[in-house]
Structures are given as structure tokens and as C-alpha cells.
Symmetry: D2
Subunit: 431 residues, 4 copies
């Protein structure tokens, strides 16, 4: 047994705070969960950056802290002084309004500040935020606090996907969490959930937190369609692969086939073939491919090609949302200690929230009437509205309570390191 | 006077064939126009490829011929034999269904076949096509003929944009066409054309030719909006530039600012500054910047940033189309011997068809219910439906009769060598 | 028979001028030979640049003319005016002293000036040079004339290697010259020419033209060694290849194995394998591999790996030179109309001059006491004295009379498009 | 005062073992010194790789251990078992004979094995080596032990240069060692040490350890020359810089000027200019530029350009060696706790051993009669004998006792992260 590849500390199985919890308690809970997610990691694990898209765990710890310090404390603390004069440069992610910043691709070179100092940074900012909360927050401050909490939850998910990628680059194949027992469940038969279309309301309509890109609430016209009752499984995807799916340009978007050829893709990210068949690298270590589980770590191009092969298509985000609006939260989220999607249950539709992010056919764009917030927080979402595709539904790495039917995630079509899968859609059979 | 930089032959000023012309006459006219466009070019001009996006003029001559040979003659000529066994490899652009092909980036190395042989290829295929037309075409053949003719018109436009790019790379700054007289017109004041929105019909509804991506006809819900009465002018764009537009990240999409920095963009493509101010390289040679003319050779990123600076936005393609449906064809098209956009006239709206392609905010995607044609021609449009943005309206390089209100052009957001400009849009003022 | 792939005009078989010929006659002969080399090429062939290392034939025509215009006429013609104000920018290769220049990698975009204008440029400069010669040249001018003639001969060789590379990129596989009859000769048995070493004199010692890098004459100490009697043959090299030579890192320099892997080398450049075995693309078109001919189009890395496999090594340039000093000029040079190396004859040693350039183990560096000439011509050789390896002996593409035993050619170790082969060397057996 | 940028533990000031010390004691001393060098580093510092040329400190710890395990223990321990089955893959640097290996550029992703496990690896291998030494070593084993010790000393120097580079990438500018007091010494006047040349003996002739590339001892003929009495200083180099040295192509090798332009070099690596003038980043943190100290962190190209500007040249390695043969070891070496070169003293010549590695004009190549050792250790030096230049003399990062007059270091001409400087040479004035 190879000690160096095993987790020495259990990852967290602590619940995300329920809505309605007082702000200070929610703040404490979210902040504590981020640190709990680092429990299985050593200082070396937390400093590396395995590709420019990913960030070191230590950087996630510091950046989320910088967010509260800069946007919440900065304008509200009398005589505000930052914890360290250079942290703004080091831990600003992309806010041009705030000032210059360290190069994204060099985050992995920040061996200093060392981890204990970043932890001290967190503690100090936490104390100051809690003191501010105690004094009471103005409405705008309350809104910034909410954004900051949901922002930190987003980084909790990234922390997991980023460390998974870093570990996958290590020939020792380290595990983040204890091994998963093999599943006994088989996937339920694929069924189709029909929707009659028409003039639909979309987007977040108020009531609870939402990011600015989820609104404004607006109308869209949909033709009748049918959405698959569950996500595509590994077993189904294997059929595509064994049918030569990766070698048949006619199944692919032109850019997709070129991207696959350039990168040498022959299977989803983290799939590995040896004499004994396919196995999959997970946060729980390598394990045999389970045909019942949703396929995950697909690029948009692979999701799109699979759908074409299956005689279907990807849903638009509007189609997805009108079905998901009332759906049960039945998929795996990150709070149960399982960091890998699980086979669907018997609900119809199943897995709309949780398990895997689902690529949609919709390019990430502004909703009609969308205006980014003024100031730096207006950079949060709006400036990324080109070249990316919308994913919906959350994944097994998403904190419980973070995702909702109007939630719009977005990535470039070649991204594969997120827990991204797909669900089929098709025109409704009209009789 | 530098002889080497001057055109030795006049470019064509021949009209495109009117609709209703018999097929053989239209075929002859379209084919002849392609060759006429090459009149100002020498054999050396016609072999080079100045970047992978562009193709040599000789390649355009051969590829459009291969299109008719392969898709029209191939299935219909008894005992069909291709003109040359390797031309399929050399002149197939991207049809995987048909077979393997030469690398796109190496088209400029095809010094052989020499130009006279490519001209012989054209003549032979023309004779065979005309013989086929004389015998009468089956309906599918008639449809392929139409696609072939519109396909060749698309390459006529590319031939112009590609040679413009090639000439721009030559320090001698050659001209394709005789110098243009300075314009005396000033641009009309910008006005706003309001539209009440609602449930609109979009896409091509039959009646005349359309590409498959223009359909099917479908419904979409629009909120009220106002579209600018004309395209953005060089003078207006200069205001953006002089206001530091290229140095202010807050005006740009994140990918756009990065692309501009990487490429060192400080002005539209073909703008040049010297002591005497701005000049613009055109197919008629360099000339002083005319503030009344539409700005052209913008990337999507620049168009988007300009719109944000101007307190407006780009229209969606649906918004553009519902306004353009009944618009006059008042903009410059390529048949008048002017290969540069002209200042708008007094119509409202003006320039919707002609002058400059207008970037829209819409990612290029399938319309609801879209199905590509079966077989190789299904590759014509559908496989490019990702990562590109829709442009509408045609340009001064588009053959007359080629463009229409439902026509969807599409390019990557960083593309600048097409005649691409923009028109502003905004939410309607609600009172 | 594919007309487009065949040469329409015979390439030149005219002799290079003999030493002692008057300057004007030699000037005329060298200049005429360059143009004769272009006879088999069309204008399209002459404009392309198939890689940054190569230059278009038209560019060679113009650059060699610019050399005489700038360095010979410029300082000597009263009221000198260049033929064209921008040609200095276009056709300066690398002389920083003279002024700025066009980007090397963009030489292939110079469709203008068209070929007839470049020919007019040649004629005008020829007239002016001949008028100058008639008036008589100062000694420095006479020296510049000599450099210019040898410079043009170097470009004659490059013109051939560059068009060979361009044609090799064309799937039609055009031929520059008529097919070669198959050789009947087999290679003579490899023998070893021993040399006792000691304190040797090296470098050019006066008497006839030499480039500055061939001097000064100097002493070097050599240990006894033995040089192979002829170049390595294709048949011998095939042995290396079939023994897994390209897959065994232990035979290679580390940089060499990495370069081969990166580029996917599995055989010399221009070797192609199909069902019928190996064939070789030549300036005479494709032909079956002839085991008796010298292997050619090797990188330094391949030459070095072959030598190691053969239990020998490459000679240093000093070792090569002391043996070559009295050698016969028995190898093929470019004046016989054969542009491909031929099997060695029975001389011992054979092929030292002609057939293939021979990689030596010597990095290209200054001889002791070397000083580049003052002014622009000092840039001719000296500034390239790093990162390149010396080749000796001339090739089948070298004009007769151009090469000599002290001649130092130099290329980067990964270069393969020159007619580069090798000859083995080893320590002398001491008894 | 910024704690995160300060060293928390003193680096070692322990002497390297004197020659003649028993093997076990020398082994212990060398091994202990490597670990002592890591004392100022945290686990995060030790895992990063700031560029492919550099390696993580942890990797150096493991690789040097793997060297003893594989080459010393492997063939000699009965029933040898490696410490870990995958460490051979992870910590083999470049020995193809031994087996496949991890990608060099991904060494920084090895967060596992964690540092404590690598330390356990070191301890276990140390115990086994010492047990082997106690039993007595065969002569070949004794030779491998020596190579292993000198190999580890080489990595001690690399560990310092690599962490310096990593720290330089951190905007916090961490220091490895305590600040240096400003020097009061000014540089001695430059004098010239003349040598009469002639037939000289070069290379290692036996007596003490040497790497295989230092032999065989051989003869070379040298012309009279004069070598500078000390290294070039920062003050002198500043003269070159202020004279426009970086902008004048005539001073540079062609490849050098291109490399400088591509990389944007305007000064040596680690020089920084602000309002207060030049400062230099050192292992002791940033400090003002001291004109008396040797200039360091130059590429070969910069060294060569400086020499040309100064009207001199770089010495060949032969010239350097014949002068250095009897030189005093007066330069700073790494055992005194100063990791930065110091101003020369009054010896003539000074600084030949220590302070800065000195670029020579000699390409790294085999000496006459050189044969690499059989087996894997033959890969140590020989396969790198192309594309690199020889440096001589050791530096302030070299362990005392490691360098000698015949020692040949070698790097690519663009490498700047080693402690590389230069010493001038010129032809002897003959009267």
C-alpha cells in the first residue's frame, strides 16, 4: 500500500448552511467549509497549479479572503488597511477596476506567503468581517456579503476540480478521499419528458440570492421538445466510443474534431484503458468504470458529438430551465463526502440538480435587458459573455444550497476538468 | 509613380445576373464574374496565401469548379471522370464525406497546377455543366446548381478580402482597383428606428434561394428595442479610439481585451497613422481616412467594445432581421466597381443591405428544428455552429443579388479581414 | 502523364566561368547562369516560400542584384540612385548596417514587384555594373565584385534547394529537371585514408578568392586519424534505419533524439516508403532509392547518430581539410545537369569535392585571429558563428569552381533541406 | 518588515569535505550539505519548478538519492529492492538506458511523495550505502561513489540557482539568506595576463577525480594571447548597457540579437531599474547594484556582445585552462555563506576559480579520443555535446572542492539563471 498516494485526513462531510441562517453563522459555516476541504491536503498539494485554468488550493484560500477584504471591508471599515500591501496584487483574480494583478499562469509559483500566513490572513479577515456584521450591515454591504459567500462556494467547487487535475498529473495517482464502494445500482431506462413549449418566463425572478447573469426575468418562445429523464451514462458513452465516435468527423463540430485531434482525445478526461478494461481516475483514486454512472469530464465538443451520434441534440438553456424549475434535488452534491457522480434514481426527470453539470447548446450571453452592476462587481460575470457555453444543474462537487434552476455556469467548449456531462434533448414527437 | 503597385487591368463592373434568368445564363454569368474579378491580378498574385484564413485566388478558381464537378457532375454524368485524379485532394475545402484533403495552411504552396491549367479546368467543367443543363436537370440537381452558384458568389467575396489582405502585407502597397475620388458626402445624423418586439417570425420562409442555416422559419419573442439608422462611421470610431478605447479594459469583453493586447491592436485593421494623420489601406490603394464612411475591418471584440463605449449594444440577429425585412438595398455592393463602403444616404434605416457586414450579438447556432442536409452538402454550414458570431447584411464586396435579410454570415470574433463593421442597438425608451 | 508536374524547359547545363576569365565575362556568365536556373520555373513557382529557411526564386534574383547595386555601385557611381526606393527594404537579407528590411518569413508574399520587373532590375544593374567594369575598378571594388560573384553562386545553390523543398510540398510532386536514368554503378568498398596528424596548417592561405571565414591561415595540432574513402551511401544508411536507428536514444545526441521525435523523423528528408519500398523525391522527380548513391538530406543529428551506430565518428573540419587539400574534384557539381548525388568512383578518397556536403563535428567558430571585414560586408559570415555546424566539400547543387578545400559551409544541426550527407572518421589504428 | 519574504533558518556555512577524507565521511558530509542547503526553505518552496530548466529542491533531494540507489546499490546489494517501485520513473533525470521517466517540465507537479517521505528515502538509502561502504567497495563501485558525490555537488549548485529563479518570480521577492553588508571594495584595475601559446597539454591527466568529459589529456596548439586579470564587473557592464549595447545589432551574434529581442532583454537577469537606479535580486534579497562586483547571470550572447563592445573577445576553453592551471582559489565559493560573487582581490589573475562561471568561446565538444563510459553513466556527459558552450571556473554557488582548472561546465547560449559571467581575452600584442 502506497502511503504517499493516500489521503491522511478525511475530507469534510459538513452540511452547507441552510437558507435563513443568520449572516454571521452562514459566513462562519462557508468559511469553515473551505478550510475543511483542505484537510486531506498537505502544504505541497496546496501550492501547485497544474494548468493555467486551475489555481492552487492556497490561492483559493487567499483569493476568497481578498474578496471579502476588498469589497466588503474596504469601503466600510474606518481607516481600512489591507492585511498586506501586496496581497491585492497577488490575489486579485481578474478585477481590472481594482488594479493590476499577478499573472494567472504563475499562481503556482507563490510558495510565499506560506500556508500559515494565508491562514492567519483568513483569521484576521474573518474577525474583521464578523465585527462588521455585529455592527450591522448596510443593504449594499449585505448584498456584497451574499455575493462573497456564493463566490466562496464557487471556489470550493474549483478547489476540488483543480486538485483532481493536479493529482491526475502525478504518476502516483494520489487519492483525495477514501475509496468508494462499487455501486450496485444500474441506470434507469432512458425516458423522455415532454414539454409543450410556448411563451415561457425564464431567469431569476427574485426571492433568494442569484448572480446578476441569471436575470432579468424575461420571456422566450419555445417550440415543443422532449428532455431526457436522466444524464447520459458511462455505459452509453462507451457505445459511442466503441462505435468509432472519436474517429468519425461527421459526428463532430468542425472545431471539435480539430480540438480532439490536436489534443489526442480518445475518451473523456480521466478515463484510462489497460488490459483489464477501462478505469476512471476519481477524487477517491482510480476505480473501474461503472456503466451506470453519468459520464463526466466531457468537453462541449464531445457532448455535442455524442448527442448527434445518439440521434438527439443538446438542450438549450431555456429548455433545460423550464423543465428543471420544479425538479427535485436528487443528484449528488458535495456535502455527502462523495466527490463523484452516482447512478440516477428512479425519479423522472432525475439528476437535474447535482451529479454532473450539463452542457447546453446555448452560448453564454446576456439576457435581454441585462446590465452588469456598476463598479468592480460588474466584472463578475458580464465580461465573460463570449466564446463560452452554458452548463446547468450543479455537480457532485457543488456545495449543497449553492445551485438552483436558474443558475448559469459557463466554460469554454474544450474545458474538461469540471464535472461536466450531458443530458439529451430532441424535438417533441408531434402526432 | 510606382508601376508595380498599380493595377494593370480594370476590375469588373459587370452586373450579377437578375433572378429569373435561365439557369445556363446565370451559370455563365456567375462563372464569368469570378474570372473577371481576377483581371487585375497577375499569376504571382493569384498563388499566394497571406494567412491560413485566406486562400489564393487560383485556389478559389479551382475550388468553386471542383464544387460543381463533384456535387453536380459526379452523380449525374454517365461514366463520370474527374478532370484530374488529384484535384479532389487539392481543392476540397472541408468536406470530410468526400475524402481527404490538402492542409488548409499550405494552399499557398500550390504553384502547380499553374494558372493556365486551372483555367482549362474551369472551361472543361463549364462545358460539361452546360451540356448537363441542356439535357435538363432533376430537381435535386437544380438545387445543387443553386447552391453551387451561391457558393461561388461567396468565394467571389472571399477572393476580394483575401487579395486585400495579401496586398496589405506587401510594403509596396499595391492597389487592386483605380483610386477612388474623395467623398464629399457627410454622414447623416444617427437616428433610432424603434421596434415594438413581440412574437416574431424569423428565418427564410421559402421563395427564392436560401442556405440551409437560414431556416427553418420559426418564432422568437423580442422585447421592444431601437436599431440605429445607419452603421457606425469612421469619425465616430475615431472618437472611441481617441478616448483611449483600446486601453480601457472596462469597455471590453475579457477575451477581447486579451486578444487585442496579444495582437497589438490599436486601431481597425488597415488603419495606419503617420505624421499626416490616419489613412486607410483599401482595394483602391491607401487613402486618407474619411470620417463619413462606415468603419470596417473590425473584430467582434472591437465592435462590442465600441458599442459599450457608446452606451449602446450590438443587436441580436433577430432584432436586426425584423427591421431589415423590408429595407431598401441602398448600400454599396460589389458590382459597381467600388470595393469600399460609402457614407450612408438619407434613408432610414440605411445601409442594412450592403456597405459593411454588421456584427450581431448572436452566437452562430442552429435555428429550432434545423437539420443539415444529408450527405456532403450537410457539411456546408452546420458543422461550424460553435465559436462564431453572426454578421448580417452583406458588404461592398458582396455580389449584388447574393445577400438578403435572412442571410447569416459567421466568423470568429477575432476575424478582421472581412468587411465587418457594426450598427448600434439599444432597449426601446419606454415612456 | 501529368503535364503540370513536368518541367517545360530544360534547366541549364552551362559551365561556370573558368578562373582567369576577365571580370566582365565572369560577371556575365554568373549572372546568366542564375537566370538559366530559373528556366524550368513558372512565375508562380518563383514567388513561393515553403518555409522561413527558404526563399523564393524571384527573391534570389532580386537579392543578388541588390547586393551588386548596394555594395558595388552604391559607393562608386556618381550620383548613384537605386533602381527603386523600396528595393533596399525588400531585398536586403540581413545587413543591419545597411538599414531595416522586410521580415524573412514573409518573402513569399511579395507578389509585387512581378517577375518582369525584377528581370528589368537585373538588366539595369547589369548594364551599370558592366559600365563600371569598363571604366575600371579600384582594388576594393574588385574585391567586392568577387564577393558578389561568389555570393550569387551561393544563391544559385540555395535556389535549387529551395525550389526542391517547395516542390516536395506539392502533392503533384513536380519535377524541376528531366528524369534520371537509373544508375548501374555500385558503391566502391569503404576504405580508410590514414593521416598521421601533427601540427598542421589550416585555412585559406591566399591565391584565389576565399571568404573571410576561411582565414586566417593558422596552425592546429591533430592526432592521427583515418577518414573514410567515400561518403556514406543510401544502402548503408538503410542498415541503420532497419536496425531501429531512429528509435534508439543511445545512438543519438540528446538534442538530436528530441528533435527527431518532435518532428517525427523516421528517415532522411525526401525519403518515402510505400508498398514497393523506398523512393526518393529529387529535382528530377520521384525515383526508387539507389543504395549506391550517397545518402543526402540528413540533419547533423542523423549524421552523428549514424556515425555512432557505425562505430565511427564525424571528422572535425581540420581533419577533413588536411585530407581534402590535394583531393581530385571527382564528385558531381551542378553544372552537368544532374542535381542529385551519384555513386562514388574508384578514387581514394572520392567525393571530397562535390556530390554531398559533409557534416563535420566542428561547431562553426572563428579561426584564431579572425577579424570580420569593416562595414556591412563584415556581417557576411562572422555574426553567424554560433549554434551552427560546419559542412565541407560542396554538393551536386554547387556551381563548379565555387567550392574549394578550405570552404566552410554552415547550417543549424536540424537543417535537412540542403544536400547534406556525411563521411565517417575514426582514430587511427596505432600499432 | 515582511516576514513572508525572510529566511527563517540560516543556510549552511559548513565546509565541503577535504580530499583525502575517508569515503564514508565524505559521503556523510556531501549528503548532509544538500539537506543543510534546504534549511531556509519550506515545503512549498521545495515543490515548485519555475521553468523547465529548473527543478524543485525536493526533486534534487530525491534524484541524487536515486542516483546512488540505482548505480551504486542496484548492482551490488544482494536481492536489491528499490525503496519505491515508481521512484525510478519519477526521479530518473535523463538516463534512457535505465528506463522511461517523468516529463522534465512536470517535475513541479510532484506534490507526492511529500517531503517527509523523500527524507525517509534519503535516510534509508544513506543507511544502505554506508553499510555497503563498511563492507568495502570494488574499484568500479568506488568510482561510481565518486561520480555520485560530485553529481550531488552539481545538484547542490543547481538547487541554489533554481530556488533563486523561483524566488525571483515571486512579487514578494523572498530572500534565501540574510542580507549582505554593502561591499567597500572597489574592483582592481583590469590588467592582461599574457601567454605565449605553443603546443599545450590540456584536459585532466589523472590524480584526483574528474568527469569523463575532462579527458583524455591531449595536445592543442595555441597562438599567443592575453587573458584579463579578473572578471568583467557590473560597473563595466553598465557602460555597455548605457552605450546602447542592447540596441546595437552590430555588437551581437545574429542569433543573440534575435534572442534578446524575442525575450525583451535589456539588462542581465535579475537586474531591475527603478527611480533610485539599478538594483539586483540576489539570494540575499534585492540590493543596490555594486559596480565592483562581477557581472553575473549573463547569457553567452550578452557575454559575447560585451566582449565585442570592449574590443576584445571571449577566451577559448584551452586559453582559459592553460592560464588557470596554477591559479589560486581566490574567488567566492558556496561554503562561506555568501551566495553572490564578490569584487576581485589583488591577485593576478584573480577569480579564475570561484565567483562566476566564465563563458568561453568554445562549443562543448568531445576532446580528441574521448569515449563515453559504457552503460548508463556514459549518458552523463557525452550526449549533450552539441548546441552548448563551455563555461569554466565555478561560481559562488559551487561547493568548495568541487571545481578544478580542467572542469567543463556547459549551458545553452541563452541560459541566464546560472551564475554566469565573463572574462575578456585578446590576441597578444606582438612587438
Amino acid at each position: 500500500m502506497d502511503a504517499s498516494a493516500q489521503p491522511s485526513h478525511a475530507p469534510p462531510a459538513r452540511p452547507s448552511p441552510a437558507p435563513g441562517t443568520p449572516a454571521a453563522a452562514r459566513y462562519r459555516a462557508v468559511r469553515a467549509r473551505t478550510e475543511a476541504l483542505c484537510a486531506p491536503l498537505g502544504p505541497e498539494d496546496m501550492v501547485v497549479q497544474s494548468m493555467p485554468d486551475a489555481s492552487p488550493a492556497k490561492w483559493h484560500l487567499a483569493h476568497t479572503t481578498w474578496f471579502f477584504e476588498t469589497f466588503l471591508l474596504g469601503p466600510r471599515e474606518p481607516g481600512f488597511e489591507p492585511f498586506h500591501p501586496k496581497y491585492g496584487f497577488l490575489f486579485n483574480s481578474y478585477y481590472d477596476t481594482v488594479g493590476p494583478r499577478h499573472a494567472r499562469a504563475k499562481r503556482g509559483l507563490l510558495t510565499r506567503p506560506p500556508l500559515p500566513e494565508v491562514r492567519a490572513y483568513r483569521r484576521q479577515v474573518d474577525d474583521r468581517v464578523l465585527a462588521l456584521l455585529e455592527r450591522g450591515l448596510d443593504p449594499e454591504g449585505a448584498a456584497v456579503l451574499e455575493v462573497g459567500l456564493h463566490h466562496e462556494q464557487q471556489h470550493q467547487e474549483l478547489l476540488l476540480t483543480d486538485i483532481k487535475h493536479a493529482f491526475s498529473e502525478n504518476p502516483l495517482r494520489p487519492a483525495y478521499a477514501p475509496p468508494l464502494a462499487p455501486s450496485r445500482r444500474s441506470a434507469p431506462r432512458l425516458a423522455w419528458v415532454e414539454h409543450e413549449g410556448g411563451l415561457c418566463e425564464l431567469g431569476h425572478g427574485g426571492g433568494g440570492f442569484a448572480f446578476d447573469n441569471e436575470g432579468p426575468r424575461h420571456r422566450a418562445w419555445l417550440e415543443p421538445f422532449a428532455l431526457a429523464s436522466r444524464a447520459v451514462t458511462c455505459g452509453e458513452y462507451l457505445g459511442f466510443l466503441e462505435d468509432g465516435g472519436y474517429r468519425r468527423p461527421g459526428l463532430w463540430l468542425s472545431d471539435g474534431f480539430a480540438a480532439a485531434a490536436r489534443a489526442g482525445w480518445e475518451a473523456p478526461l480521466y478515463w484510462e484503458r489497460d488490459g483489464a478494461g477501462w478505469s476512471v481516475f476519481t477524487l477517491h483514486g482510480p476505480r473501474p468504470l461503472d456503466p451506470a454512472e453519468p459520464v463526466v469530464h466531457l468537453s462541449y465538443y464531445e457532448a455535442d458529438a455524442y448527442a448527434r451520434w445518439a440521434g438527439a441534440r443538446l438542450p438549450t438553456e431555456a429548455e433545460w430551465e423550464v423543465v428543471a424549475r420544479g425538479a427535485a434535488e436528487d443528484g449528488a452534491l458535495a456535502d455527502g463526502g462523495r466527490y463523484h457522480p452516482a447512478a440516477a434514481g428512479e425519479q423522472r426527470p432525475a439528476q437535474l440538480l447535482g451529479d454532473v453539470w450539463e452542457w447546453t447548446a446555448s452560448a453564454y450571453a446576456a439576457y435581454p435587458g441585462y446590465r452588469p452592476a456598476p463598479g468592480a462587481l460588474g466584472e463578475y460575470n458580464g465580461k465573460f459573455m463570449v466564446n463560452q457555453l452554458v452548463l446547468r444543474g450543479g455537480s457532485c462537487a457543488t456545495p449543497a444550497g449553492h445551485v438552483r434552476p436558474t443558475y448559469r455556469n459557463f466554460f469554454y467548449p474544450e474545458a474538461r476538468w469540471q464535472f461536466s456531462g450531458l443530458r439529451l434533448c430532441r424535438e417533441a414527437r408531434r402526432c
